[in-house]
């Protein structure tokens, strides 16, 4: 039954050679690969700045770099990680690659716009990197006025321009996904037969197209304020610096849902596949993604409880902020229930999925502290907040990304990687992550403010613990680069469905054809039907 598996002769990777065939491609899969390389570069660059930050914070005195330099470091870390790594990551790599095969389509609705989004990402990245290397920006990734408008002497406008440009990449990706999911589903692929990964990306795309334009216009306003001396936020002319915060967070809060929703979609696929069981409460999980997207737009001022908003406004936003926690909790419970009476195995993607459950749960629960008004007064702008969002962004989103990458790597490349090293890396990431960020909750409650270059002596032990943990985490991130690249040449051939997963993408060869399918599939089954997968494996169907 098992012939020796071989990489299929005709696939998207060898369909056309040379740089031009990649740079001018319309194939969503090749575009996804180019995004993969780009965001990986950005991730390690952002990570370098993180290393510098943790090195500085290992000692209370500001003795590693000068204050201005440190300020530029944490700004660079935030800007690169948020705008150039996290926001594109899962959608631009996994979403781009997988959405067409998952729905039975040959490509996204607008392949050339997909390529354009990549170019725009590159251009935005070049601008931003240039600005950072030619002097840097020291406003923090949040660019609050008046400091960013008149106070800072750094390269604010070029960096802002880079982010502005990159925002269009995000918008175009979201637009493409929305149209694709609406109009390109194969016959029989109804909305409620879609994989939950697709639902998650649909919700993400809604947020991308509705939210990103607002940060774009906010950056325009900051640009004219700073570059042309306009007075929209200038208190001396009657302007309101807090208005900037409202506009900024109107996007930037939904942005965090852009960063986590796709990972929540990956999680559903992993939990289902590695317990060989359909997701418990499919429609609840699907709708919870939409609910998170919607509620995410009405909570922005919970970043501003002490920014001078009225007591009344604070109460409203605190109340609404709890609403967005509920759908997330629903997902966690549904995943847990999926495991019940499953047939569970712990290949690397499942290790990431388990890690995700724990870290996302902690991250989400610590959000409750911050939504609670009386509590947030004390915790706002301390390391508690830093720990909270890193639990979700890193413990959640990045683990989701890595789990997804490890899950679909065989499909993308046709190869399997070393299970031994990949499990070690997953464990290192989980352990290193907790060592790095758990102490930050404590030092935050103690009162250590964010963006501090130096701090009081009594906070050193906790900071040293955090910096030590970061080295373990860094090792955990470095390992996949090595064994994944190694697998490209030396990995075992994967075959179409090494995990026994459901989903249309696993019915095709690995790597897929450029056009994904020879014949357009017609769908007549519900998602996550493992009886059928097993029967197919045994050649019974």
């Amino acid at each position: 039954m098992l012939d020796k598996l071989k990489i299929p002769e005709r696939n998207y990777l060898n369909n056309g050679h040379g740089l031009a065939s990649w740079l001018l491609t319309k194939d969503h899969k090749r575009i996804a690969i180019m995004y993969l390389i780009s965001i990986s570069v950005m991730f390690f660059l952002g990570g370098l700045f993180a290393v510098a930050i943790r090195l500085e914070l290992a000692t209370p005195a500001g003795d590693f770099v000068q204050a201005d330099t440190y300020n530029k470091f944490f700004t660079a870390h935030g800007v690169i990680m948020v705008f150039f790594f996290l926001i594109p990551s899962i959608p631009a790599v996994l979403g781009n690659f997988l959405i067409p095969p998952m729905i039975g389509a040959k490509d996204l609705a607008f392949p050339r716009i997909n390529l354009l989004s990549l170019y725009i990402y590159w251009i935005g990245g070049v601008f931003t990197l240039y600005a950072m290397l030619s002097g840097g920006v020291d406003t923090g990734w949040t660019f609050y006025t008046p400091y960013s408008a008149t106070g800072s002497n750094s390269n604010v406008v070029p960096v802002a321009l880079g982010i502005f440009i990159a925002g269009f990449s995000s918008i175009l990706t979201g637009l493409n996904f929305i149209v694709t999911i609406h109009r390109m589903r194969a016959p029989g692929m109804t909305w409620f037969r879609l994989p939950l990964f697709v639902w998650a990306h649909y919700a993400t795309s809604l947020v991308q197209v509705l939210g990103t334009p607002v940060i774009a216009i906010t950056i325009v306003m900051l640009g004219v304020e700073r570059g042309l001396g306009f007075g929209i936020f200038d208190p001396a002319r009657g302007g309101d610096p807090v208005l900037f915060q409202h506009l900024f967070w109107f996007y930037s809060h939904p942005a965090v849902y852009i960063m986590i929703l796709p990972a929540l979609g990956v999680q559903s696929e992993l939990i289902s596949t590695f317990s060989r069981k359909t997701i418990f409460g499919y429609s609840f999980v699907a709708f919870s993604s939409l609910a998170i997207a919607v509620f995410g737009f009405i909570v922005w001022a919970h970043h501003m409880f002490v920014a001078g908003i009225s007591t009344y406004a604070a109460m409203v936003f605190s109340f609404l902020s709890f609403s967005v926690a509920i759908p997330s909790a629903v997902k966690v419970f549904n995943w847990t229930a999926t495991l019940y009476k499953g047939a569970i195995s712990f290949e690397t993607p499942m290790l990431y999925a388990y890690g995700f459950m724990g870290l996302f749960a902690i991250g989400g629960l610590t959000g409750l502290f911050l939504a609670t008004l009386g509590m947030d007064i004390h915790l706002h702008d301390t390391y508690f907040v830093v720990a909270h969002f890193h639990y979700i962004m890193v413990g959640g989103a990045i683990m989701g990304y890595l789990g997804g990458l490890h899950f679909w790597w065989p499909k993308i490349t046709g190869r399997m990687y070393s299970e031994f090293f990949s499990r070690i890396a997953a464990i290192l990431v989980f352990v290193g992550f907790n060592l790095t960020f758990l102490p930050q909750f404590v030092v935050g409650y103690l009162g250590m403010p964010r963006r501090y270059h130096s701090y009081p002596d009594e906070m050193q032990v906790l900071n040293v613990m955090s910096s030590a943990g970061a080295s373990v985490l860094g090792l955990g991130y470095a390992l996949p680069v090595i064994y994944l690249l190694y697998s490209l040449k030396k990995g075992a051939v994967a075959g179409p469905n090494p995990w026994g997963a459901s989903g249309l993408e696993w019915q095709t060869q690995s790597p897929p054809l450029t056009e994904n399918f020879i014949e357009v599939p017609v769908v007549d089954r519900e998602p996550y039907e493992y009886e059928h997968v097993v029967a197919k494996e045994k050649h019974l169907v």
Partner: protein, 267 residues
């Protein structure tokens, strides 16, 4: 999960059966057009959010500094603004005609209507140049050289110093605002807060003008394609999408005009 059924006609051959403009990842022209329409509407939705941030800022400051907004608005030229509104609405009409002609496969009529639309768009931009130039001349550009109080003494009886000098009376080409009631802001405050109005004025109309320039650029390409006979009854989607975009740009102006030009004009 899937029960794969052999598809009737494959895409590798029989191109004659397909419209030359059908892209290979679509099954039918209808699907391709629907995708384009949904995509363009989603894009316009993003544009609404994009301008929306400016409208939000405008709303806040107009409530806070109504008098500054009223005074500054009255300094704008109703003539030029009104003319531009008519020109832009007219250009939407010509654009709609172009789409109709593309839809009915009238090649040269399509080209002519598109050219007319571009001319009207350029007229609009020309008028804006006139208006902007006038603002520069009167130091109504916020920032370093801004001067308000000199040309527009307010009737408030506060003793605030006029912010400086010697300026010719406002040109009659601008319907100069005549303060006609007690204001709650004195000359010094107007010097400051009218800058907020003009910051928004320039940002909003500037952004709008950039959208128009882009629209005219797109129209150049579409006109060329029409001239070359690329469109017919089955495929005129690019013309229609350009039309949607152009109508959107027009609608933005229809909001901008009253908000910027017509604040408390009635008295």
């Amino acid at each position: 999960m899937s029960n794969v059924v052999a598809h009737a006609d494959d895409h590798g051959h029989a191109h004659a059966a397909h419209h030359p403009a059908l892209q290979h990842h679509f099954d039918t022209m209808a699907q391709q057009k629907e995708a384009a329409v949904v995509g363009m509407w989603v894009f316009l939705l993003t544009e609404i959010l994009f301008f929306g941030g400016l409208f939000a800022a405008y709303m806040v400051y107009r409530i806070w500094y109504f008098d500054a907004f009223a005074e500054a608005s009255r300094s704008l030229s109703l003539f030029w603004g009104g003319l531009n509104t008519a020109v832009l609405i007219g250009s939407s009409l010509t654009m709609a005609m172009a789409v109709r002609c593309a839809q009915t496969n009238k090649r040269s009529a399509t080209v002519n209507w598109l050219i007319l639309t571009m001319i009207l768009g350029t007229v609009f931009l020309g008028v804006k140049v006139i208006e902007y130039a006038d603002k520069f001349e009167h130091h109504h550009v916020p920032g370093y050289n801004y001067q308000w109080a000199a040309a527009h003494p307010s009737t408030s009886l506060g003793a605030g110093e006029a912010a400086g000098a010697e300026h010719a009376a406002p040109s009659t080409a601008l319907g100069a605002g005549e303060p006609h009631r007690e204001l709650s802001l004195n000359a010094d405050q107007l010097q400051l807060t009218t800058q907020i109005y003009f910051s928004l004025y320039f940002t909003m109309t500037g952004l709008h003008a950039i959208h128009m320039i882009i629209g005219i650029g797109i129209m150049l390409v579409i006109t060329w394609m029409a001239y070359k006979g690329r469109f017919d009854e089955q495929y005129y989607t690019p013309v229609e999408m350009t039309g949607l975009y152009w109508h959107f740009v027009d609608i933005v102006w229809i909001f901008l005009f009253p908000l910027l030009y017509l604040v408390e004009r009635h008295v």
